[in-house]
Symmetry: C6
């Protein structure tokens, strides 16, 4: 499982992400402050998406990989502090072990 | 073979799962209490799906991976206790060895 | 190469298998007693399919994996004893070595 | 690189192979005596196909793997002796080293 | 993560790259001085694309790999000095560690 | 990175290659003297294609692998001496290290 945060992502970076989004509300992401990226196995990414969704101030999207239905990457959009909080929450939940899922 | 249980999954998490379901009765999953996730090789997942199907109080769906026909993940929907029972049953059957399949 | 036998497969398990079958005679499998699963490399699975086809009382189908033309799994349908015999025959032929193929 | 020879292949085995052939002359293979299978990396399989094509009494087809254009397996059809000769020739050429290709 | 720079790329090389570009403005690349190539995991390539986009004098494109939506390679077009600067900036950012992303 | 040279390729071998070519000028390859094959990672193959394109007397094509846009193999057509020269040039450039790309 890997994590990255891009602050004030460039337009070209957002275009790359938008071309791979599973959902249709792509216009909502025109002025994002930061984007958090989490990559891992599909089973982990579904759990990570759920943790991030339950955090405040962020929107979660799955970014398609080699084929349309393969989710290997999720993107978390929001202001920098909220994205960092969501990623810390994902890390914390993972460290608590599988019992808490 | 990996296991996860998500309690009261968020709407976004359910959307991600629904987009990858092989069956068509997707409206049945609007108010699930918990979802169990099991990921593994295709041969194991078909056996795991059969064990879970024979458990009570749960519904089993295969969640498509990188391509439409690749089943690398199954989801088990139901109340938390039933989902946990189904996953324990899968674990128990696997520990009994291949003879019992 | 891996082997599994599912006795009295559930309807959901048969649905998962039917959605991935290469052939069209899917209605023939409504009341199968047992299903044997064999997973391996494509070259081995073609040989295994040939051994099973030459056994009595079973029907062999290839179950598609990640993409329509990728055979990583074959299913052997029939009564439990015939399916077990076919799988033992596959194991025996493999142990005899490549000379006998 | 792996090799297998199936003598008097069953109808079901031939059906599996025919569904994956790259060429269209599939009716030519209704009464083959034997089929040799060679699996390996694409670069090796193109060389192996060339060696087999230059042998006498056999027909060579590429059998598609996970996607239509992925050749991971070639099939060599003919009488048993010719198929065995073609496979021995492939083995011999490979042992001579890359200099002779 | 791997890096390469091709100076004065040949027409055939540009054709190979253009056939894999995600965007549509392919005519802009007819007289490029140099092309930098960066290959890596999807999460790293999105970050690398963002770093390169924020550099001056270069254009960034994702080059599709095995399937249309799989980005395993990005190309950075511009004069040689600008491409080299963009790649050095990607290397530098990566060495600073994940904290700075 | 692997290399092979096929001298006077058979018609069947050329058919396999032509079915996987990215370009459309497939009739130009009816009487080739030799074909050099180079297989490797996409980033290396783009560089190798550029080196071969800048050599004299050869034509370079990318041969598609598991999916239409995945280049894992390039073919270099020409008389035997020119193909060998192009492959030696690719090897030499690779040994000089990444600095020279």
């Amino acid at each position: 499982m890997e994590f990255r945060i891009i602050k004030t992502p460039s337009k070209g970076t957002m275009d790359i992400l938008k071309r791979r989004m599973g959902s249709n509300n792509k216009s909502d992401f025109d002025n994002v402050d930061a984007v958090g990226l989490v990559q891992g196995k599909m089973i982990e990414m579904i759990c990570a998406a759920d943790v991030a969704e339950k955090a405040v101030g962020v929107t979660v999207e799955d970014i398609r990989g080699s084929c349309p239905q393969n989710m290997i990457l999720i993107a978390i959009f929001g202001d920098t502090a909220s994205v960092e909080d969501a990623i810390h929450e994902i890390k914390r939940k993972l460290e608590e072990g599988k019992d808490l899922w």
